[in-house]
Symmetry: C2
C-alpha cells in the first residue's frame, strides 16, 4: 500500500482541492470524510476511486479486504485534508453521478427544489428528509449551496447514494412540470397563501423551498400551481426552512 | 454611560461567566448576543439588566432611548464576551424566568419534552418549532443540553420569550400527565410502534423526543400512552430529531 506523509505530495494537494466547489466541479469527484459516511459508500457500491486511511484508524480490519485502492496517510496529512477539526482518519475519493437532465421519462415521483437555500446544514438535512419521505430527488437551483459541500455531506448522511441530486435552472424545471401536468408547489410565509393541509397527498409533485431570509424568487412563485403556507399558531416569526420542508414533504408524498 | 475597555474588568469577567452553564445556573441570568435577539428581548419587555454596546454598533440610535442601563464596551471586550467569531457588538444581560413547577393547574396545552437531546442547534430549532406549532412549552429532561446555551439561543430565535422552558425530571412529569389523563406520546425508530398519522390532533398532550443516537430511555418509553413512529419510505436510516419533532408537533397540535 502506498504511504504518504507529506501535505506537499501532489496527490494530497489534488485531493485537498476536492474540498472546494471549484475543485469538485472541475474533477467531478468529492471527498467523503469519516467512517459512518465512508461505510455507507462502501455498502451501496459507490464509485470510490481511493480510500485514504491513517495507520491508527480503528476500523482498519473492516476495510482491508476491499479491492478499492488504498493509500496510508499520516495524521498530519489527515488533518490537512479534513473539514472537521478531529477527523477519524478515513476518507473516500468518490466520483460524482452525472448531472441528470429532467425529462418526462424520468420525472416520476416527488421532487424537492431549492431556490437559493444557503445553509449547508439545512440543505443536507433537507436531502436526508427527502430521502426518508420517499422522494425521487432534490433539484439544486441557482444560488443554493453546493450539493457536495463537506457540511452538506455530513448532514445528509449518505442520502446522495439513495436519491437523485440534480443541478438545474428552476424556471426551466417549472416549465417541464407544467407541460407534463405535474403539480408544482411553492412555499411562502404569507397567510393568504394556501394552507398545506388542503393539498392531497400525491405520487408525483414538485415542492420549491426558498432562501432562509428572503423566501422564493417572485418569478418562480408565479409559475407554480399553488403556493403553500404552514399556519404559525404561536408567536414565532417563521419556521426553519428544513423543518418547513419536512412538514410539507411528509404531508404531500403519497 | 459607563465605558469599559478591559477584559480584566470585574463586571466583564462576571458577564463572561454567563456564557457557561455553571455561571448561568449560579446567577440565574444569561447573555443574549446580536441585534436580532436583543431587539426581540426589548420588544417583549424581557427582564434585561444591562445592554452592552460597542460604540460603532450600527443600530445605536434605536436603543439609546431605552431606560435600561447601558455600558459601552470596546471591540476587544465585545470579542471576549462573544460566542460567535464576528459579533455585531450588542449584548443583553437577561434574567431567567423562574423554573416552573408543573401541576394540573398549568399543564394545559401541548408540551414537547427532551430526553437527552444533545445538539444545541437541534434543541433551539425544536423550541422555535414548538412555538410556531402553538405548544405551551418545552420541558428539558436530564441529559439534554442547556436551554440557554449560546447556540440554543441563536437557533431558537427569541422563542424563550414566547413559550415556557422548564427543567424537570421526565419520569415525574410523566406521572403528572398520567394522573391527569392527558395523553403522553413517546417517539421511537421502530416500525412496530404506532404510526403518527393514526393519532388525532388534540389541544392537550405531551410528546417526548429522545437522544440523537440512542433514542428515548426505556423506562420512559414504558410510561407513555403510545410510542409514535414516522414511517420511513425511502432508504434513509432515520430522520434528524428536530425534523421528526416538527412533523409530529404539526400533526398532534389541534
Amino acid at each position: 500500500m502506498e504511504k504518504i506523509n507529506s501535505t506537499q505530495n501532489a496527490k494530497i494537494k489534488y485531493w485537498k482541492k476536492l474540498q472546494t466547489k471549484k475543485g469538485r466541479k472541475k474533477e467531478n469527484k468529492y471527498l467523503l470524510e469519516g467512517w459512518h459516511l465512508v461505510k455507507e459508500a462502501l455498502m451501496v457500491d459507490a464509485k470510490i476511486e481511493y480510500l485514504l486511511v491513517t495507520n491508527d484508524f480503528r476500523y482498519f480490519d473492516d476495510i482491508i479486504n476491499t479491492e478499492i485502492e488504498q493509500v496510508e496517510i499520516s495524521s498530519e496529512v489527515s488533518l490537512y485534508l479534513a473539514d472537521t477539526s478531529t477527523p477519524q482518519g478515513i476518507y473516500a475519493v468518490v466520483k460524482m453521478e452525472e448531472n441528470r437532465q429532467l425529462t418526462i421519462d424520468n420525472l416520476a415521483g416527488g421532487w424537492l427544489m431549492l431556490d437559493g437555500v444557503q445553509d449547508p446544514g439545512n440543505i443536507g438535512t433537507m436531502v436526508r428528509t427527502a430521502d426518508a419521505a420517499g422522494l425521487t430527488g432534490v433539484i439544486f437551483g441557482e444560488g443554493s449551496a453546493d450539493s457536495h459541500h463537506p457540511k452538506v455531506l455530513r448532514s445528509m448522511q449518505g442520502s446522495q447514494f439513495h436519491i437523485q441530486l440534480v443541478n438545474a435552472d428552476l424556471m426551466e424545471v417549472a416549465t417541464v412540470f407544467k407541460e407534463n401536468h405535474i403539480p408544482l408547489y411553492g412555499s411562502e410565509l404569507n397567510e393568504d397563501a394556501r394552507s398545506y393541509r388542503e393539498i392531497p397527498a400525491a405520487a408525483n409533485f414538485g415542492l420549491i423551498m426558498g432562501n432562509e431570509g428572503n423566501g422564493m424568487r417572485n418569478d418562480l412563485l408565479n409559475t407554480t400551481d399553488a403556493n403553500l403556507y404552514i399556519p404559525i399558531k404561536g408567536r414565532a416569526e417563521s419556521l426553519n426552512v428544513a423543518i418547513a420542508a419536512g412538514v410539507l414533504m411528509f404531508q404531500l408524498k403519497a
